[in-house]
């Protein structure tokens, strides 16, 4: 359910645009922040606030790669698989990540700690290969770097 705080934040944006629908993506991002994905309840509430049908808003929500309509883990790993990263050794990173977490792209670890999502280019091709873990960017990765980074997050959770 949308919180009063969410509602206030979304309403504060309405004056920027001539239509309520224009706030759709920003509103979805606001509700997504709370539990990292947009539930059906959230979607219905946002649609009502923006005077859209839930179906119409879902059509928007499901289009964008960074709006999640399914639960994701505590940490979202986006390992770039586009051309420059691929040339610079991304396949080896994929293999290492798969070994480490026991999942493949598009999957969440059974303990709900990590979701690994495919991502198209992070715009740091001169520092390839690259990964974004939550909001943090990691570049020029070797499989060893990747393992050390992921292990840090793993240990943080077990503390």
């Amino acid at each position: 359910m949308m919180t009063p705080q969410d509602r206030r934040e979304i309403e504060a944006l309405l004056h920027t645009y001539p239509t309520r629908q224009a706030v759709a993506l920003e509103a979805l991002k606001i509700v997504q922040r709370r539990q990292r994905w947009v539930s059906d309840d959230d979607l219905r509430d946002v649609a009502a606030l923006l005077e859209m049908t839930p179906a119409e808003l879902d059509g928007v929500a499901t289009f964008y790669s960074q709006v999640f309509r399914q639960p994701v883990g505590e940490h979202v790993i986006r390992l770039c698989d586009s051309v420059s990263c691929w040339i610079m050794g991304e396949i080896a990173l994929q293999e290492r990540l798969s070994q480490l977490l026991g999942i493949r792209t598009g999957e969440t670890t059974p303990d709900g700690r990590f979701t690994w999502l495919p991502v198209s280019c992070l715009g740091v091709c001169e520092q390839a290969p690259a990964m974004m873990l939550d909001d943090t960017l990691y570049t020029q990765l070797t499989p060893e770097d990747l393992e050390a980074i992921v292990q840090r997050y793993v240990q943080e959770g077990s503390r």
């Binding site: 629908q21 790669s65 709006v67 280019c121 520092q127």
Partner: protein, 467 residues
Amino acid sequence: MKTERPLTQHIRADGLALNLREYEATGGYQGLRTTLQMEQHQVTKTIQDSTLWGRGGAGFGTGRKWSFVPDKDLHKRHIFPNEIVVMIEEPAVWDNALAGFTTGVKWGFMPKGEYATSPTYLVANADEMEAGVFKDRVLLEGNPHQLIEGMIIAAYAVRADTAFIFLRWAYKEAAQRIEKALAEARQANYLGEHILGTDFSLDIHLHISAGRYICGEATALLNSLEGRRPTPRAKPPHTATVGLWGRPTVVNNVETLSNVPHILRNGVDWYKALSYTAEGGTKLYGVSGRVKRPGWWELPMGTTAREIVQEHAGGMLDGYQLRGFLPGGASTDFLLAEHLDVRMDLKSVAALGSRLGTGTMIILDDKTCPVSMTANLMHFFARESCGWCTPCRDGLPWTAKVLDALEAGQGRPEDIDRLQKHAHLIGSPDSTFCPLAPGAMEPLQSALQYFAEDFQEHVRQQRCPWH
């Protein structure tokens, strides 16, 4: 030897953004002050005269884009708003995007005189989602005020009262810096009501995207800003007449707009002289792949690919040879080592059957399989298709699947002909609504041409010879 680097010379070595005071100390906002003394049409004329081509990858001149906007005062003043547009057009500020008009010409499409209406919009396209492209990030992170000043000048020329920066979702650092710069600009009255005491008012809003490459296509971007699915719109009408919420709208690339303050401040002749060729100005070039120093460099427009790769990127890593390159991002045709002397401008790269695109090169080395690289590119385009047109929605995954089969040792002799046929069918400009699918076919059709033997070996050996 041309050494001026107006867009990047003041970017700090530590990579932090210039704040307002630092930007002003470099001459920042002088171009705006000059602009506000001019008639709108003179500004657009300057940009038209500059020959500024759009820097987003399509190649649309900025001044021309501006002159498409309606001019409500034209009628009263008996002045041609085209004059402003012509200035931008003359220095050849080509909108470094994918299209093919100078920026001044684009501006010149905006309605004028009795046709002018309000609101009118300006949008900075900072989506930069093409695989292998990162040049606008440098400008957004290093000097956001330069973009903002360019936007204010552009908005003045096309009589826009509201502007948006449409930012790639992954550019989180840039987002913070732009917000800070916008706040500083508002504080100093470069934005807001009655800018610097004139009757011109403007605000700029930052819109952070939520992913998908298709949003970089101008009309898809406008749908996205309206909170819709970002499928491209039919053209005509051009966005200059029917754009955001049906209003006249100019969409310009970040690098394009970042050129504008310098043209207004230093003039058309200065701007044109920055270049080695007839396409004015400098260009942000980039290199990724197995070179010694991957990175970006602002260089005179028309610098050779060889100079960029050998001198600036330091040549190939030891043990690797350059076999080919995509000159301007994932959607440009492969070129070969024998093409390295090409001048990296629109006309010269086009003469070789490829496109300058964004000028951000991706290098294919001799230890990387060209079939596999093409498959990687095809998966990118297939994933990013918006799904509107059948040849793109169904054709791209199909093409990727055939390439995967070749890689997996399941290729059949007829596959190569089929790929060729589909590259032609999907790639013909009239088969789809927007340039995504034709762009996707550029690396495929050129790979089939230049690396034909590699494709055949995959079929003959029933495996990828690189693995």
